[in-house]
Protein backbone atom coordinates (compact mmCIF):
# COMPACT_ATOMS: atom_id res chain seq x y z
CA UNK A 1 0.00 0.00 0.00
CA UNK A 2 1.35 3.33 -0.95
CA UNK A 3 0.82 6.81 0.35
CA UNK A 4 -1.03 7.50 -2.87
CA UNK A 5 -3.69 4.81 -2.40
CA UNK A 6 -4.37 5.97 1.16
CA UNK A 7 -4.53 9.67 0.35
CA UNK A 8 -6.58 9.06 -2.78
CA UNK A 9 -8.93 6.86 -0.76
CA UNK A 10 -9.22 9.58 1.88
CA UNK A 11 -9.98 12.37 -0.58
CA UNK A 12 -12.45 10.32 -2.60
CA UNK A 13 -14.13 9.16 0.59
CA UNK A 14 -14.40 12.67 1.97
CA UNK A 15 -16.09 13.88 -1.21
CA UNK A 16 -18.49 10.95 -1.23
CA UNK A 17 -19.24 11.83 2.40
CA UNK A 18 -21.35 14.72 1.13
CA UNK A 19 -23.71 12.18 -0.42
CA UNK A 20 -23.83 10.28 2.87
CA UNK A 21 -24.74 13.43 4.75
CA UNK A 22 -27.39 14.40 2.25
CA UNK A 23 -29.07 11.02 2.23
CA UNK A 24 -29.00 10.71 6.05
CA UNK A 25 -30.27 14.20 6.86
CA UNK A 26 -33.96 13.28 6.75
CA UNK A 27 -33.40 10.27 8.96
CA UNK A 28 -31.61 12.42 11.49
CA UNK A 29 -34.25 15.17 11.49
CA UNK A 30 -37.30 13.02 12.13
CA UNK A 31 -35.48 11.26 14.91
CA UNK A 32 -34.21 14.44 16.46
CA UNK A 33 -37.51 16.26 16.35
CA UNK A 34 -40.00 13.53 17.18
CA UNK A 35 -38.05 10.43 18.16
CA UNK A 36 -39.32 8.63 15.10
CA UNK A 37 -36.91 5.99 13.81
CA UNK A 38 -37.82 5.94 10.15
CA UNK A 39 -36.66 2.53 8.99
CA UNK A 40 -38.37 3.27 5.66
CA UNK A 41 -35.91 6.07 4.90
CA UNK A 42 -33.96 3.85 2.52
CA UNK A 43 -37.10 3.22 0.49
CA UNK A 44 -37.73 6.96 0.39
CA UNK A 45 -34.33 7.38 -1.26
CA UNK A 46 -35.04 4.60 -3.73
CA UNK A 47 -38.49 6.06 -4.46
CA UNK A 48 -36.80 9.33 -5.36
CA UNK A 49 -34.39 7.48 -7.63
CA UNK A 50 -37.19 5.60 -9.39
CA UNK A 51 -39.30 8.72 -9.85
CA UNK A 52 -36.28 10.53 -11.22
CA UNK A 53 -35.74 7.62 -13.58
CA UNK A 54 -39.35 7.84 -14.78
CA UNK A 55 -39.30 11.61 -15.31
CA UNK A 56 -35.87 11.79 -16.88
CA UNK A 57 -36.72 8.99 -19.31
CA UNK A 58 -40.17 10.31 -20.14
CA UNK A 59 -39.21 13.94 -20.67
CA UNK A 60 -35.55 13.49 -21.56
CA UNK A 61 -34.54 15.76 -18.71
CA UNK A 62 -31.30 15.77 -16.77
CA UNK A 63 -31.64 14.28 -13.27
CA UNK A 64 -30.53 17.60 -11.79
CA UNK A 65 -33.49 19.29 -13.46
CA UNK A 66 -35.84 16.48 -12.48
CA UNK A 67 -34.84 16.83 -8.84
CA UNK A 68 -36.47 20.28 -8.83
CA UNK A 69 -39.77 18.56 -9.59
CA UNK A 70 -39.05 15.77 -7.13
CA UNK A 71 -38.42 17.98 -4.14
CA UNK A 72 -42.00 19.31 -3.94
CA UNK A 73 -43.42 15.88 -4.73
CA UNK A 74 -41.54 14.20 -1.93
CA UNK A 75 -42.26 17.13 0.38
CA UNK A 76 -45.99 16.57 -0.02
CA UNK A 77 -45.55 12.81 0.18
CA UNK A 78 -43.61 13.06 3.43
CA UNK A 79 -46.18 15.46 4.87
CA UNK A 80 -49.14 13.23 4.06
CA UNK A 81 -47.55 9.98 5.26
CA UNK A 82 -46.54 11.59 8.51
CA UNK A 83 -49.97 13.12 9.11
CA UNK A 84 -52.02 10.07 8.19
CA UNK A 85 -49.90 7.16 9.33
CA UNK A 86 -47.30 8.25 11.85
CA UNK A 87 -48.74 11.16 13.84
CA UNK A 88 -51.63 9.14 15.30
CA UNK A 89 -49.07 6.76 16.80
CA UNK A 90 -46.78 9.37 18.31
CA UNK A 91 -48.40 9.17 21.73
CA UNK A 92 -48.09 5.38 21.93
CA UNK A 93 -44.33 5.29 22.47
CA UNK A 94 -41.47 4.69 20.10
CA UNK A 95 -42.21 1.20 18.86
CA UNK A 96 -45.52 1.59 16.99
CA UNK A 97 -44.16 4.30 14.70
CA UNK A 98 -40.97 2.34 14.11
CA UNK A 99 -42.89 -0.81 13.25
CA UNK A 100 -45.27 1.10 10.99
CA UNK A 101 -42.26 2.43 9.11
CA UNK A 102 -41.03 -1.14 8.94
CA UNK A 103 -44.32 -2.13 7.33
CA UNK A 104 -44.08 0.78 4.90
CA UNK A 105 -40.61 -0.33 3.93
CA UNK A 106 -41.82 -3.85 3.12
CA UNK A 107 -44.74 -2.51 1.10
CA UNK A 108 -42.54 -0.04 -0.77
CA UNK A 109 -39.86 -2.58 -1.71
CA UNK A 110 -42.40 -4.94 -3.18
CA UNK A 111 -44.40 -2.21 -4.88
CA UNK A 112 -41.21 -1.06 -6.59
CA UNK A 113 -40.76 -4.59 -7.89
CA UNK A 114 -44.35 -4.75 -9.13
CA UNK A 115 -44.14 -1.35 -10.82
CA UNK A 116 -40.58 -1.16 -12.12
CA UNK A 117 -39.40 -4.77 -12.06
CA UNK A 118 -36.39 -6.22 -10.32
CA UNK A 119 -33.73 -5.10 -12.79
CA UNK A 120 -30.90 -2.73 -12.01
CA UNK A 121 -31.43 0.88 -12.97
CA UNK A 122 -29.23 3.91 -13.01
CA UNK A 123 -29.86 7.59 -13.72
CA UNK A 124 -28.05 8.35 -16.94
CA UNK A 125 -26.22 11.62 -16.90
CA UNK A 126 -23.25 13.25 -18.51
CA UNK A 127 -21.36 13.51 -15.20
CA UNK A 128 -21.15 9.86 -14.31
CA UNK A 129 -17.89 9.18 -16.11
CA UNK A 130 -16.32 12.62 -15.78
CA UNK A 131 -13.53 13.22 -13.40
CA UNK A 132 -11.76 16.06 -11.64
CA UNK A 133 -8.13 16.16 -10.59
CA UNK A 134 -7.68 17.56 -7.09
CA UNK A 135 -4.18 17.69 -5.58
CA UNK A 136 -3.05 15.29 -8.26
CA UNK A 137 -5.71 12.76 -7.36
CA UNK A 138 -8.50 11.66 -9.68
CA UNK A 139 -11.92 12.13 -8.14
CA UNK A 140 -15.19 11.31 -9.88
CA UNK A 141 -17.05 14.49 -10.78
CA UNK A 142 -20.17 13.20 -9.04
CA UNK A 143 -18.30 12.78 -5.76
CA UNK A 144 -17.25 16.41 -5.93
CA UNK A 145 -20.80 17.48 -6.74
CA UNK A 146 -22.06 15.35 -3.84
CA UNK A 147 -19.66 17.06 -1.50
CA UNK A 148 -21.02 20.50 -2.33
CA UNK A 149 -24.64 19.38 -2.43
CA UNK A 150 -24.19 17.91 1.05
CA UNK A 151 -22.84 21.19 2.39
CA UNK A 152 -25.46 23.35 0.66
CA UNK A 153 -28.37 21.20 1.82
CA UNK A 154 -27.10 21.19 5.37
CA UNK A 155 -26.72 24.97 5.37
CA UNK A 156 -30.15 25.38 3.80
CA UNK A 157 -31.88 23.26 6.41
CA UNK A 158 -29.93 25.01 9.16
CA UNK A 159 -31.02 28.43 7.89
CA UNK A 160 -34.61 27.29 7.68
CA UNK A 161 -34.60 25.98 11.23
CA UNK A 162 -32.95 29.06 12.70
CA UNK A 163 -34.34 31.89 10.57
CA UNK A 164 -37.99 31.10 9.96
CA UNK A 165 -41.00 31.04 12.22
CA UNK A 166 -41.78 27.45 11.29
CA UNK A 167 -38.16 26.53 11.92
CA UNK A 168 -38.30 28.00 15.37
CA UNK A 169 -41.54 26.17 16.02
CA UNK A 170 -39.78 22.94 15.02
CA UNK A 171 -37.08 23.67 17.54
CA UNK A 172 -39.62 24.42 20.23
CA UNK A 173 -41.44 21.16 19.52
CA UNK A 174 -38.15 19.29 19.64
CA UNK A 175 -37.24 20.58 23.03
CA UNK A 176 -40.61 20.18 24.66
CA UNK A 177 -43.66 19.16 22.66
CA UNK A 178 -46.09 19.73 25.55
CA UNK A 179 -44.95 23.30 26.20
CA UNK A 180 -44.91 24.03 22.49
CA UNK A 181 -48.52 22.95 22.33
CA UNK A 182 -49.43 25.24 25.21
CA UNK A 183 -47.75 28.07 23.33
CA UNK A 184 -50.19 27.49 20.51
CA UNK A 185 -47.93 25.56 18.18
CA UNK A 186 -49.73 22.89 16.18
CA UNK A 187 -47.32 20.10 16.99
CA UNK A 188 -48.92 17.66 14.55
CA UNK A 189 -48.40 20.10 11.75
CA UNK A 190 -44.83 20.76 12.83
CA UNK A 191 -44.09 17.05 12.85
CA UNK A 192 -45.53 16.70 9.38
CA UNK A 193 -43.46 19.61 8.10
CA UNK A 194 -40.33 18.07 9.60
CA UNK A 195 -41.05 14.76 7.88
CA UNK A 196 -41.75 16.67 4.67
CA UNK A 197 -38.39 18.45 4.80
CA UNK A 198 -36.72 15.15 5.56
CA UNK A 199 -38.39 13.58 2.52
CA UNK A 200 -37.40 16.55 0.36
CA UNK A 201 -33.74 16.09 1.28
CA UNK A 202 -34.19 12.41 0.42
CA UNK A 203 -35.19 13.54 -3.08
CA UNK A 204 -31.70 14.97 -3.46
CA UNK A 205 -30.05 12.05 -1.73
CA UNK A 206 -31.87 9.51 -3.88
CA UNK A 207 -31.03 11.39 -7.07
CA UNK A 208 -27.35 11.48 -6.16
CA UNK A 209 -27.40 7.76 -5.33
CA UNK A 210 -29.11 6.94 -8.61
CA UNK A 211 -26.62 9.01 -10.59
CA UNK A 212 -23.48 7.89 -8.80
CA UNK A 213 -24.35 4.24 -8.25
CA UNK A 214 -27.11 2.02 -9.50
CA UNK A 215 -30.30 1.02 -7.72
CA UNK A 216 -32.82 -1.80 -7.51
CA UNK A 217 -36.00 -2.13 -5.43
CA UNK A 218 -33.96 -3.48 -2.53
CA UNK A 219 -31.15 -0.91 -2.57
CA UNK A 220 -32.78 1.07 0.23
CA UNK A 221 -31.73 -1.25 2.99
CA UNK A 222 -27.94 -0.82 2.77
CA UNK A 223 -28.44 2.94 2.49
CA UNK A 224 -30.63 2.95 5.59
CA UNK A 225 -27.86 1.22 7.49
CA UNK A 226 -25.28 3.71 6.27
CA UNK A 227 -27.72 6.41 7.27
CA UNK A 228 -27.86 5.08 10.81
CA UNK A 229 -24.08 5.04 11.03
CA UNK A 230 -23.96 8.67 9.89
CA UNK A 231 -26.68 9.70 12.30
CA UNK A 232 -25.23 7.90 15.30
CA UNK A 233 -21.82 9.34 14.45
CA UNK A 234 -23.12 12.88 14.22
CA UNK A 235 -25.68 12.67 16.99
CA UNK A 236 -29.36 12.07 16.33
CA UNK A 237 -31.07 15.23 15.16
CA UNK A 238 -27.91 17.32 15.05
CA UNK A 239 -27.92 18.90 11.59
CA UNK A 240 -24.27 19.93 11.36
CA UNK A 241 -23.44 16.72 13.19
CA UNK A 242 -25.03 14.81 10.32
CA UNK A 243 -22.83 16.60 7.81
CA UNK A 244 -19.76 15.92 9.93
CA UNK A 245 -20.89 12.31 10.41
CA UNK A 246 -21.32 11.83 6.68
CA UNK A 247 -17.94 13.28 5.82
CA UNK A 248 -16.29 11.30 8.57
CA UNK A 249 -17.89 8.05 7.45
CA UNK A 250 -16.80 8.70 3.87
CA UNK A 251 -13.30 9.51 4.99
CA UNK A 252 -12.94 6.46 7.21
CA UNK A 253 -14.40 4.16 4.56
CA UNK A 254 -11.99 5.52 1.99
CA UNK A 255 -8.98 5.08 4.25
CA UNK A 256 -10.35 1.83 5.64
CA UNK A 257 -10.74 0.26 2.20
CA UNK A 258 -7.09 1.01 1.47
CA UNK A 259 -6.05 -0.86 4.62
CA UNK A 260 -8.50 -3.71 5.09
CA UNK A 261 -9.67 -4.21 1.50
CA UNK A 262 -12.86 -3.29 -0.30
CA UNK A 263 -14.62 -6.41 0.99
CA UNK A 264 -14.59 -5.04 4.50
CA UNK A 265 -15.22 -1.43 3.47
CA UNK A 266 -18.77 -1.39 4.83
CA UNK A 267 -17.56 -3.05 8.02
CA UNK A 268 -15.47 0.03 8.78
CA UNK A 269 -18.61 2.08 9.22
CA UNK A 270 -20.27 -0.55 11.34
CA UNK A 271 -17.31 -0.88 13.67
CA UNK A 272 -17.25 2.89 14.15
CA UNK A 273 -20.99 2.75 14.76
CA UNK A 274 -20.46 0.18 17.49
CA UNK A 275 -17.65 2.07 19.15
CA UNK A 276 -19.58 5.34 19.14
CA UNK A 277 -22.64 3.58 20.53
CA UNK A 278 -20.53 2.16 23.34
CA UNK A 279 -18.44 5.16 24.26
CA UNK A 280 -20.07 8.30 22.86
CA UNK A 281 -23.79 7.51 22.73
CA UNK A 282 -24.77 11.10 21.92
CA UNK A 283 -22.61 11.11 18.82
CA UNK A 284 -19.10 12.40 18.47
CA UNK A 285 -20.34 15.96 18.58
CA UNK A 286 -23.41 15.39 20.70
CA UNK A 287 -23.98 17.99 23.36
CA UNK A 288 -27.35 17.42 24.88
CA UNK A 289 -28.50 14.07 26.14
CA UNK A 290 -30.17 11.87 23.60
CA UNK A 291 -31.64 9.63 26.30
Amino acid sequence: MSFYTVSAGALNGLMLGGLYACMALGLSMVFGVMRFVNVAHGELLVLAAFLSFVFSTAFGLHPFIVVLILIPILFVFGYVVQRVLINPLMSAGLEPSLLTAFGLSIIAQNLFVEIWGGNTKSLNNNFSEMNVTLLGIDVPMLYVISFFVGIIVTLGVHLFITRTYTGRAIRAATQDAATAMVMGINVNRIYAITAAIGAATAALGGTLIGMTFSFTPTTGFPWLLKGFVVVVLGGMGNIFGTLAGGLLLGLSEGIGAAFVGTGYRDMVGFVIFLLVLMFRPNGLFGLKGSE
Binding site: E95, T100, G103, I106
Partner: protein, 314 residues
Amino acid sequence: MMDKKYSPWAILILVTVVLAFVPSMGDRYLLFIAYFLVLNVAFAQSWNLVGGYTGLISLGHAAFFGIGAYAAAISIITFELPVIAGFIIGGLASTAFAFLISFPTFRFKGIYFAIGTLVLAEALRIWMINWEYIGGAQGMQFPIGIGFRLTGYFYIMLGLAVGSTALLMYILRSKLGVGLRAIRDNEDGAQNLGVDIFRTKLTALMISAFIAGLVGAVHAGRLGAIEPYSIFGAAWTIGVVNIVIIGGMGTIFGPIVGAIFVTLLTEAMADFSGIHLIIEGVILILVIRFMPYGLWGFVLKMLRRIPLFGGTRA
Protein backbone atom coordinates in the same frame (compact mmCIF):
# COMPACT_ATOMS: atom_id res chain seq x y z
CA MET B 1 -54.40 -10.51 28.39
CA MET B 2 -55.09 -14.17 28.83
CA ASP B 3 -58.62 -15.05 29.76
CA LYS B 4 -58.75 -17.22 32.86
CA LYS B 5 -61.39 -19.45 31.35
CA TYR B 6 -58.93 -20.57 28.70
CA SER B 7 -56.40 -23.05 29.81
CA PRO B 8 -53.36 -22.20 27.69
CA TRP B 9 -51.74 -25.53 28.46
CA ALA B 10 -54.79 -27.38 27.17
CA ILE B 11 -54.69 -25.42 23.92
CA LEU B 12 -50.97 -26.06 23.51
CA ILE B 13 -51.35 -29.80 24.08
CA LEU B 14 -54.26 -29.97 21.70
CA VAL B 15 -52.45 -28.10 18.93
CA THR B 16 -49.39 -30.27 19.45
CA VAL B 17 -51.36 -33.48 19.22
CA VAL B 18 -53.11 -32.39 16.05
CA LEU B 19 -49.83 -31.33 14.42
CA ALA B 20 -48.09 -34.52 15.52
CA PHE B 21 -50.50 -36.48 13.36
CA VAL B 22 -49.74 -34.49 10.21
CA PRO B 23 -47.00 -36.83 8.92
CA SER B 24 -49.25 -39.86 9.29
CA MET B 25 -51.91 -38.27 7.10
CA GLY B 26 -49.70 -39.18 4.17
CA ASP B 27 -50.10 -35.86 2.41
CA ARG B 28 -46.59 -34.62 1.78
CA TYR B 29 -47.68 -31.13 0.82
CA LEU B 30 -49.47 -30.76 4.13
CA LEU B 31 -46.26 -31.87 5.83
CA PHE B 32 -44.30 -29.35 3.77
CA ILE B 33 -46.58 -26.51 4.89
CA ALA B 34 -46.70 -27.79 8.46
CA TYR B 35 -42.90 -27.75 8.61
CA PHE B 36 -42.76 -24.08 7.66
CA LEU B 37 -45.60 -23.41 10.07
CA VAL B 38 -43.77 -24.88 13.06
CA LEU B 39 -40.52 -23.23 11.97
CA ASN B 40 -42.32 -19.91 11.94
CA VAL B 41 -43.92 -20.58 15.32
CA ALA B 42 -40.60 -21.43 16.97
CA PHE B 43 -38.80 -18.48 15.42
CA ALA B 44 -41.70 -16.16 16.25
CA GLN B 45 -41.74 -17.20 19.90
CA SER B 46 -38.06 -16.41 20.03
CA TRP B 47 -38.79 -12.89 18.79
CA ASN B 48 -41.89 -12.57 20.93
CA LEU B 49 -39.88 -13.08 24.11
CA VAL B 50 -37.74 -10.01 23.44
CA GLY B 51 -40.01 -7.96 21.18
CA GLY B 52 -43.35 -8.75 22.77
CA TYR B 53 -42.57 -9.29 26.43
CA THR B 54 -39.40 -7.28 27.08
CA GLY B 55 -39.99 -4.35 24.74
CA LEU B 56 -36.74 -4.93 22.90
CA ILE B 57 -37.56 -4.60 19.21
CA SER B 58 -34.96 -6.76 17.52
CA LEU B 59 -34.48 -5.91 13.86
CA GLY B 60 -31.56 -8.27 13.56
CA HIS B 61 -33.07 -11.62 14.37
CA ALA B 62 -31.73 -13.02 11.11
CA ALA B 63 -28.29 -12.86 12.75
CA PHE B 64 -29.27 -15.30 15.50
CA PHE B 65 -30.85 -17.58 12.95
CA GLY B 66 -27.85 -17.40 10.64
CA ILE B 67 -25.27 -17.99 13.36
CA GLY B 68 -27.16 -21.08 14.44
CA ALA B 69 -27.23 -22.31 10.85
CA TYR B 70 -23.54 -21.71 10.26
CA ALA B 71 -22.34 -23.03 13.63
CA ALA B 72 -24.28 -26.22 12.95
CA ALA B 73 -22.92 -26.47 9.41
CA ILE B 74 -19.33 -26.02 10.57
CA SER B 75 -19.75 -28.57 13.36
CA ILE B 76 -21.37 -31.14 11.11
CA ILE B 77 -19.48 -30.59 7.85
CA THR B 78 -16.02 -29.47 8.96
CA PHE B 79 -15.72 -31.24 12.30
CA GLU B 80 -17.97 -34.16 11.40
CA LEU B 81 -19.83 -34.03 14.70
CA PRO B 82 -23.14 -35.83 15.09
CA VAL B 83 -26.03 -33.90 13.58
CA ILE B 84 -27.87 -33.35 16.86
CA ALA B 85 -24.68 -32.08 18.52
CA GLY B 86 -24.30 -29.66 15.64
CA PHE B 87 -27.81 -28.32 16.20
CA ILE B 88 -27.15 -27.73 19.89
CA ILE B 89 -23.87 -26.00 19.10
CA GLY B 90 -25.86 -23.81 16.71
CA GLY B 91 -28.13 -22.73 19.55
CA LEU B 92 -25.21 -22.12 21.89
CA ALA B 93 -23.22 -20.10 19.35
CA SER B 94 -26.20 -17.85 18.83
CA THR B 95 -26.55 -17.43 22.61
CA ALA B 96 -22.90 -16.43 22.85
CA PHE B 97 -23.43 -13.84 20.12
CA ALA B 98 -26.40 -12.43 22.05
CA PHE B 99 -24.19 -12.11 25.09
CA LEU B 100 -21.57 -10.20 23.12
CA ILE B 101 -23.92 -7.73 21.50
CA SER B 102 -25.76 -6.99 24.72
CA PHE B 103 -23.01 -4.62 25.84
CA PRO B 104 -23.31 -2.09 23.05
CA THR B 105 -27.06 -2.44 22.54
CA PHE B 106 -28.38 -2.44 26.12
CA ARG B 107 -26.66 0.66 27.32
CA PHE B 108 -29.48 2.82 26.18
CA LYS B 109 -33.16 2.48 26.47
CA GLY B 110 -35.46 1.40 23.77
CA ILE B 111 -34.69 2.50 20.32
CA TYR B 112 -30.95 1.94 20.13
CA PHE B 113 -31.61 -1.73 20.48
CA ALA B 114 -33.63 -1.75 17.27
CA ILE B 115 -31.01 0.23 15.35
CA GLY B 116 -28.12 -1.63 16.93
CA THR B 117 -29.47 -5.07 16.08
CA LEU B 118 -30.30 -3.96 12.55
CA VAL B 119 -26.76 -2.73 11.94
CA LEU B 120 -25.06 -5.59 13.76
CA ALA B 121 -26.93 -8.20 11.75
CA GLU B 122 -25.79 -6.57 8.52
CA ALA B 123 -22.22 -6.23 9.79
CA LEU B 124 -22.25 -9.91 10.61
CA ARG B 125 -23.58 -10.79 7.17
CA ILE B 126 -20.78 -8.87 5.49
CA TRP B 127 -18.29 -10.60 7.75
CA MET B 128 -19.64 -14.02 6.84
CA ILE B 129 -19.61 -13.21 3.12
CA ASN B 130 -15.92 -12.34 3.33
CA TRP B 131 -14.85 -15.15 5.61
CA GLU B 132 -13.37 -17.78 3.34
CA TYR B 133 -12.91 -20.44 6.00
CA ILE B 134 -16.65 -20.97 5.96
CA GLY B 135 -16.88 -20.78 2.20
CA GLY B 136 -17.40 -17.02 1.80
CA ALA B 137 -20.21 -16.22 -0.56
CA GLN B 138 -20.19 -19.79 -1.84
CA GLY B 139 -21.50 -21.07 1.47
CA MET B 140 -21.38 -24.68 2.62
CA GLN B 141 -23.04 -27.85 1.40
CA PHE B 142 -23.99 -30.73 3.65
CA PRO B 143 -22.98 -34.07 2.19
CA ILE B 144 -26.09 -35.47 0.56
CA GLY B 145 -27.72 -38.08 2.75
CA ILE B 146 -26.60 -36.63 6.07
CA GLY B 147 -29.25 -35.64 8.55
CA PHE B 148 -32.89 -36.63 8.80
CA ARG B 149 -35.75 -37.24 6.47
CA LEU B 150 -38.37 -34.53 6.04
CA THR B 151 -40.60 -36.15 8.65
CA GLY B 152 -37.70 -36.16 11.09
CA TYR B 153 -37.07 -32.47 10.53
CA PHE B 154 -40.75 -31.77 11.00
CA TYR B 155 -40.81 -33.49 14.40
CA ILE B 156 -37.65 -31.72 15.53
CA MET B 157 -39.06 -28.36 14.49
CA LEU B 158 -42.41 -29.20 16.09
CA GLY B 159 -40.50 -29.96 19.26
CA LEU B 160 -38.84 -26.56 19.06
CA ALA B 161 -42.13 -24.79 18.44
CA VAL B 162 -43.89 -26.50 21.33
CA GLY B 163 -40.85 -26.29 23.56
CA SER B 164 -40.38 -22.59 22.99
CA THR B 165 -44.07 -21.87 23.53
CA ALA B 166 -44.08 -23.88 26.75
CA LEU B 167 -40.86 -22.19 27.85
CA LEU B 168 -42.43 -18.79 27.34
CA MET B 169 -45.48 -19.81 29.33
CA TYR B 170 -43.24 -21.02 32.11
CA ILE B 171 -41.08 -17.89 32.07
CA LEU B 172 -44.07 -15.61 32.22
CA ARG B 173 -45.14 -17.10 35.52
CA SER B 174 -41.65 -16.85 36.96
CA LYS B 175 -39.88 -13.93 38.56
CA LEU B 176 -38.06 -13.37 35.28
CA GLY B 177 -41.35 -12.92 33.46
CA VAL B 178 -42.53 -10.32 35.93
CA GLY B 179 -39.26 -8.45 35.48
CA LEU B 180 -39.50 -8.57 31.69
CA ARG B 181 -42.94 -7.07 31.55
CA ALA B 182 -42.04 -4.48 34.14
CA ILE B 183 -39.17 -3.37 31.90
CA ARG B 184 -41.39 -3.32 28.85
CA ASP B 185 -44.09 -1.26 30.51
CA ASN B 186 -41.82 1.21 32.26
CA GLU B 187 -38.08 0.80 32.49
CA ASP B 188 -37.55 3.46 35.14
CA GLY B 189 -40.38 2.08 37.21
CA ALA B 190 -38.92 -1.41 36.95
CA GLN B 191 -35.61 -0.14 38.23
CA ASN B 192 -37.31 1.42 41.22
CA LEU B 193 -38.99 -1.90 41.92
CA GLY B 194 -35.56 -3.44 42.20
CA VAL B 195 -35.44 -5.28 38.87
CA ASP B 196 -31.89 -5.79 37.63
CA ILE B 197 -32.54 -4.31 34.22
CA PHE B 198 -29.38 -5.38 32.44
CA ARG B 199 -29.45 -8.94 33.72
CA THR B 200 -33.11 -9.43 33.01
CA LYS B 201 -32.80 -8.13 29.46
CA LEU B 202 -29.69 -10.20 28.90
CA THR B 203 -31.38 -13.37 30.10
CA ALA B 204 -34.33 -12.78 27.79
CA LEU B 205 -32.11 -12.04 24.81
CA MET B 206 -29.95 -15.09 25.40
CA ILE B 207 -32.94 -17.40 25.65
CA SER B 208 -34.41 -15.83 22.53
CA ALA B 209 -31.12 -16.25 20.67
CA PHE B 210 -30.84 -19.86 21.79
CA ILE B 211 -34.22 -20.69 20.28
CA ALA B 212 -33.49 -18.74 17.09
CA GLY B 213 -30.09 -20.42 16.78
CA LEU B 214 -31.62 -23.87 17.13
CA VAL B 215 -34.26 -23.05 14.52
CA GLY B 216 -31.56 -21.82 12.13
CA ALA B 217 -29.42 -24.90 12.77
CA VAL B 218 -32.22 -27.35 12.10
CA HIS B 219 -33.37 -25.47 9.02
CA ALA B 220 -29.81 -25.44 7.66
CA GLY B 221 -29.76 -29.21 7.99
CA ARG B 222 -32.98 -29.49 6.09
CA LEU B 223 -31.91 -27.05 3.38
CA GLY B 224 -28.73 -29.03 2.72
CA ALA B 225 -26.90 -26.03 1.27
CA ILE B 226 -26.48 -22.67 2.94
CA GLU B 227 -24.87 -19.42 1.92
CA PRO B 228 -24.64 -16.13 3.79
CA TYR B 229 -26.74 -13.91 1.52
CA SER B 230 -30.02 -15.60 2.22
CA ILE B 231 -29.32 -17.26 5.58
CA PHE B 232 -28.41 -13.90 7.12
CA GLY B 233 -30.85 -12.04 4.89
CA ALA B 234 -33.23 -9.44 6.30
CA ALA B 235 -36.12 -11.51 4.90
CA TRP B 236 -36.00 -13.70 8.01
CA THR B 237 -36.33 -10.70 10.27
CA ILE B 238 -39.12 -9.23 8.17
CA GLY B 239 -40.97 -12.54 8.33
CA VAL B 240 -40.73 -12.95 12.07
CA VAL B 241 -41.70 -9.37 12.88
CA ASN B 242 -44.73 -9.68 10.60
CA ILE B 243 -45.80 -12.93 12.20
CA VAL B 244 -45.58 -11.75 15.78
CA ILE B 245 -47.20 -8.37 15.27
CA ILE B 246 -49.99 -9.62 13.04
CA GLY B 247 -50.68 -12.50 15.42
CA GLY B 248 -50.32 -10.44 18.56
CA MET B 249 -47.07 -9.43 20.22
CA GLY B 250 -46.83 -10.08 23.91
CA THR B 251 -49.39 -12.89 23.79
CA ILE B 252 -48.62 -16.59 23.90
CA PHE B 253 -50.83 -17.73 21.06
CA GLY B 254 -50.50 -14.62 18.93
CA PRO B 255 -47.32 -15.85 17.25
CA ILE B 256 -49.02 -19.15 16.49
CA VAL B 257 -51.98 -17.39 14.91
CA GLY B 258 -49.61 -15.09 13.06
CA ALA B 259 -47.52 -18.03 11.87
CA ILE B 260 -50.61 -19.82 10.56
CA PHE B 261 -51.74 -16.69 8.78
CA VAL B 262 -48.39 -15.81 7.24
CA THR B 263 -47.42 -19.39 6.33
CA LEU B 264 -50.70 -20.02 4.55
CA LEU B 265 -50.67 -16.63 2.84
CA THR B 266 -47.11 -17.23 1.65
CA GLU B 267 -48.04 -20.64 0.27
CA ALA B 268 -51.27 -19.48 -1.32
CA MET B 269 -49.40 -16.68 -3.06
CA ALA B 270 -46.23 -18.60 -3.90
CA ASP B 271 -46.71 -17.54 -7.50
CA PHE B 272 -46.84 -13.87 -6.56
CA SER B 273 -44.01 -13.51 -4.10
CA GLY B 274 -44.12 -9.72 -4.00
CA ILE B 275 -47.86 -9.39 -3.56
CA HIS B 276 -48.07 -11.40 -0.37
CA LEU B 277 -45.47 -9.18 1.25
CA ILE B 278 -47.44 -6.10 0.22
CA ILE B 279 -50.55 -7.62 1.79
CA GLU B 280 -48.60 -8.50 4.94
CA GLY B 281 -47.20 -4.99 5.14
CA VAL B 282 -50.66 -3.42 4.87
CA ILE B 283 -52.08 -5.78 7.49
CA LEU B 284 -49.09 -5.06 9.71
CA ILE B 285 -49.76 -1.33 9.63
CA LEU B 286 -53.48 -1.79 10.25
CA VAL B 287 -52.85 -4.15 13.14
CA ILE B 288 -50.38 -1.77 14.79
CA ARG B 289 -52.90 1.01 14.56
CA PHE B 290 -56.11 -0.78 15.44
CA MET B 291 -55.29 -4.07 17.17
CA PRO B 292 -52.37 -3.61 19.54
CA TYR B 293 -52.60 -7.26 20.57
CA GLY B 294 -52.91 -8.54 17.04
CA LEU B 295 -55.41 -10.95 15.54
CA TRP B 296 -55.28 -13.20 18.57
CA GLY B 297 -55.96 -10.32 20.95
CA PHE B 298 -58.84 -9.29 18.73
CA VAL B 299 -60.26 -12.82 18.73
CA LEU B 300 -60.06 -12.99 22.52
CA LYS B 301 -61.79 -9.64 22.83
CA MET B 302 -64.59 -10.78 20.56
CA LEU B 303 -64.94 -14.10 22.36
CA ARG B 304 -65.31 -12.37 25.68
CA ARG B 305 -68.41 -10.67 24.39
CA ILE B 306 -70.09 -14.02 24.01
CA PRO B 307 -71.43 -15.12 27.38
CA LEU B 308 -70.37 -18.73 26.82
CA PHE B 309 -66.77 -17.62 26.80
CA GLY B 310 -67.10 -16.07 30.14
CA GLY B 311 -66.77 -12.37 29.81
CA THR B 312 -69.33 -9.81 30.75
CA ARG B 313 -70.47 -7.65 27.92
CA ALA B 314 -68.32 -4.82 29.12
